[in-house]
């Protein structure tokens, strides 16, 4: 069904993010932290990161505009930024910040400016990708998360419901063989159960 397709797409996108190096293992850690108490934990953390890091980026830009640039401050900001980006597993962003810090240590203003552009680029790219990813995840419906076991738990009650529905309908059918209504209701039950199973 639609949601299945979405889920497949979502999984593909997620794999791509990892393969292309946008995300690293920390992201999986976040996913593992997500649970019933915090069903949207990953998204919350990522949102928090992007919101909080805006002011850092602004600070860096301001500091870069000064001539000569204040390398100490830049280094400090970038260190913070590096730490932040490591919290969500933003691998590419993190490596660019490391590069930036190298230039900072060397006192290479031009290198800093250049690298910072890279940092911003990676940052914006990741942001877009993750926004899409989470949108898709929301559309795919609840239960779509990295934690596979969750689905299994969801299956059991559904199966139970289906089974009971089936039995009830069958009993009705048996008891009132002659009545058409029962048969139709039975058929309806069957259809319902089938659709539920599809959802799962």
């Amino acid at each position: 069904m639609g949601s299945n397709q979405l889920k497949t797409q979502l999984a593909t996108m997620r794999d791509a993010l990892f393969k292309q190096g946008y995300l690293d293992e920390q992201f999986i850690q976040l996913e593992e932290l997500q649970d019933d108490a915090n069903p949207n934990f990953v998204e919350e953390v990522v949102t928090l990161f992007f919101r909080d890091s805006v002011r850092l980026i602004n600070s860096v830009e301001q500091a870069l505009e000064k001539t000569p640039p204040e390398f100490d401050k830049l280094d400090k900001y970038m260190h913070q930024f590096k730490g932040s980006s490591s919290s969500i597993g933003a691998a590419k962003v993190k490596s660019e910040t490391s590069l930036f810090r190298e230039y900072c240590k060397q006192g290479n203003a031009e290198g800093c400016v250049r690298t910072f552009q890279q940092v911003k680029k990676e940052y914006t790219t990741l942001r877009k990708k993750l926004e899409t990813y989470f949108q898709m995840a929301r559309q795919a419906g609840p239960g779509e998360s990295a934690s596979r076991p969750k689905l299994r738990f969801q299956v059991y009650p559904v199966v139970g419901v289906l089974a009971s529905v089936f039995l009830t309908s069958f009993k009705l059918y048996k008891s009132t063989l002659s009545e058409q209504n029962n048969a139709s209701s039975y058929v309806l039950f069957l259809l319902m159960s089938v659709s539920i199973m599809c959802e799962v």
Binding site: E25, Q26, Q29, L30, E32, L33, D35, N38, F41, E44, V45, L48, F49, D52, K76, H79, Q80, K82, G83, S84, S86, S87, I88, G89
Partner: protein, 596 residues
């Protein structure tokens, strides 16, 4: 979730329910860490600023088991926070950083971090942080037989077993079973340690030679820069542990301060010090108080948070002396003493102001004797203010600038001047009186140690009434000093445990008995006032009192001056034991209390 404030319940499920404080300026990481720690079944508190963290820790003494902090923070360096927490609260601190450079990690370890985690932090790394808490408890027991610690360990053990069982039932880690075995073996060990009646702790006998080496090392390093680790290195004795040195250092400091006090029996300390203190009271007082941290064998004295009066004044001896010295400096009759004191003061002053005198709490075991007296002036005040320091207010105030003026609490390590110093103690008393005034804690005379209800009560009311600086007579001064020292120590411990009053009382009593009683009432009162309001915990009181009693008794028994050296030795040895036999001390205490 564990019930709040119900320690035994919490400890019973150890390591679940471990109370963690996370400090990180990065909100994203705070969120992630909080979630991770919650998943480990720990109780998490988060904060963004180091200052907030310190406030939280000070407010809730004994409210946390472990602190996790980031290295880079805007308002305060993570290493500094690390030191402060270690000194003031004696909690294990774990550092975190995205930067894993060896030099940084080394710096962290040097400043006392028990672990250094690299960001991104994994959940499995956080799962094991309970080991640091447990380890510290074990070491505490080794150093000092503390009922509380022992209880904690028992609880932890029990809790761990229970935790393990439930865990196993729920199909948890099999590794828990292994841990259980380890715990069991530790249990036996703890049992031995905890068996107070038959203390098996291998006590280090400080022979004359050993002590001489110790003194040499101390003098070589410089009293104000001394620390157990440095001394240990200089002494170069393989079988000696840092804890041994630390506790010995504590005693030594106490001894030195005693000597100073005794050397100046009638110095008009009051006037001098008082004037000094008056303007600065709050600050100076605080300085001392904050310095008193009941850290056990704390090496880094670095700026002590005066802010929190939590300093545990356990190592009254040296600390007190210092404080006294400072105050006494002007009054010291002997130029030598004075010079020594002044010299020390300067040294101390040079140190960052906020240095605190780490007093090894009797309870807490050997306390970092490192007396960083930057604000040692305040430290000096602190000493006097032992009682004062307990008031939170006092602690909060940073004595730094003001302390300098009079604080010069010269390092207690000045070679003990035979009796000249006694007066200095008086001075200390004066400051104390002053301090007390400042301490609004007068009202704090409150919780009387349950153990010493009668004695305390009598004094407390008196104390409470006195806010103004009492004319500290030399005796009183001494008494105060001693008291303060002890009070501080006691307060410290009580502070930490909430028994500030009990301790101070014990101290006062002891001294009164001796000679100081005469005019000390006022002084004592003031000291009481200063006593922290924290409620006294019985055992803390006892411990402290015992400590004090012992000290006092010793004093009482011998003429101050004559007996000093002997006393010192005896005391040194005795001190080692006092922790253990609570009941023994208690009667002594009563004796001391009798004075009134």
């Amino acid at each position: 979730m564990m019930e709040n404030g119900f320690q035994s319940t919490r400890a019973e499920a150890f390591p679940a329910g471990l109370r963690v404080l996370v400090v990180d300026d990065d909100v994203t990481w705070l969120k992630v860490l909080e979630k991770m720690l919650k998943k480990c079944a720990y109780e998490v508190t988060t904060c963004c600023l180091a200052i907030d963290a310190l406030n939280i820790l000070r407010e809730r003494k004994d409210g946390f088991d472990i602190v996790i902090s980031d290295v880079n923070m805007p308002d305060m360096d993570g290493f500094k926070l690390l030191e402060l927490v270690g000194l003031e609260m004696d909690l294990p601190v774990i550092m975190m950083s995205v930067d894993g450079e060896t030099s940084r990690v080394m710096k962290g370890v040097q400043h006392g971090a028990c672990d250094y985690l690299l960001k991104p932090v994994r959940m499995k790394e956080l799962k094991n942080i309970w080991q640091h808490v447990f380890r510290k408890k074990i070491h505490e027991v080794k150093d000092i037989e503390s009922y509380e610690v022992i209880d904690d360990i028992h609880l932890m053990r029990n809790g761990f077993e229970r935790f393990e069982d439930s865990h196993l039932l729920s199909g948890g880690n099999l590794s828990l079973a292994k841990k259980r075995k380890d715990m069991e073996s530790k249990e036996h060990e703890n049992l031995d340690l905890c068996d107070l009646s038959s203390v098996k702790k291998a006590r280090v006998v400080w022979t004359v030679d050993l002590h001489q080496k110790f003194v040499n090392a101390v003098n070589q390093i410089g009293i104000d820069k001394v620390g157990p680790k440095k001394i240990l290195d200089l002494m170069n004795i393989p079988w000696l542990t840092r804890e041994n040195v630390a506790s010995h250092l504590q005693k030594y400091r106490l001894y030195l301060s005693r000597l100073e006090k005794e050397s100046e029996p009638n110095a008009a300390f009051g006037c001098f010090n008082q004037t000094d203190f008056s303007p600065k009271d709050p600050s100076t007082g605080f300085g001392l108080q904050s310095s008193i941290t009941a850290h056990q064998s704390r090496e880094a004295c670095s700026s002590f948070g005066f802010s929190s009066g939590e300093t545990i004044v356990q190592a009254i001896d040296t600390e007190i002396k210092e404080g006294d010295l400072k105050d006494i400096v002007p009054l010291l009759p002997s130029p030598e003493a004075r010079n020594a004191l002044v010299g020390k003061l300067h040294e101390i002053q040079k140190k960052s102001n906020g240095s605190q005198i780490d007093f090894s709490s009797s309870v807490g075991g050997s306390v970092g004797l490192d007396v960083r007296c930057d604000s040692f002036d305040s430290t000096g005040l602190r000493k006097h203010q032992w009682s004062r320091e307990f008031s939170d207010m006092q602690f909060k105030r940073q004595t730094e600038p003001e302390n300098k003026s009079y604080r010069h609490a010269s390092p207690a390590f000045v070679s003990p001047h035979p009796c000249i110093e006694t007066n200095s103690s008086i001075n200390a008393g004066a400051p104390i009186a002053k301090m007390e005034k400042e301490n609004s804690s007068g009202s704090g005379i409150k919780p009387l140690c349950s153990r010493y209800p009668t004695s305390n009560v009598a004094y407390l009311p008196a104390m409470a009434s006195t806010e103004s600086p009492l004319p500290l007579q030399p005796e009183a001064g001494i008494g105060n000093i001693l008291l303060s020292g002890r009070a501080c120590a006691m307060n410290e411990s009580s502070r930490t445990k909430g028994n500030s009053f009990g301790h101070s009382r014990g101290i006062c009593w002891g001294y009164d008995q001796k000679d100081l009683f005469e005019a000390n009432t006022a002084v004592l009162q003031s000291s009481y006032e200063n006593l922290p309001l924290s409620s006294l915990q019985d055992y803390d009181c006892v411990e402290n009192t015992v400590l004090n009693n012992i000290e006092f008794l010793e004093y009482d028994d011998l003429e101050l001056f004559a007996a000093l050296p002997v006393q010192h030795c005896d005391r040194l040895k005795f001190n080692g034991d006092y922790n253990l036999s609570e009941p023994v001390e208690y009667p002594a205490m009563d004796q001391g209390l009798f004075i009134v």
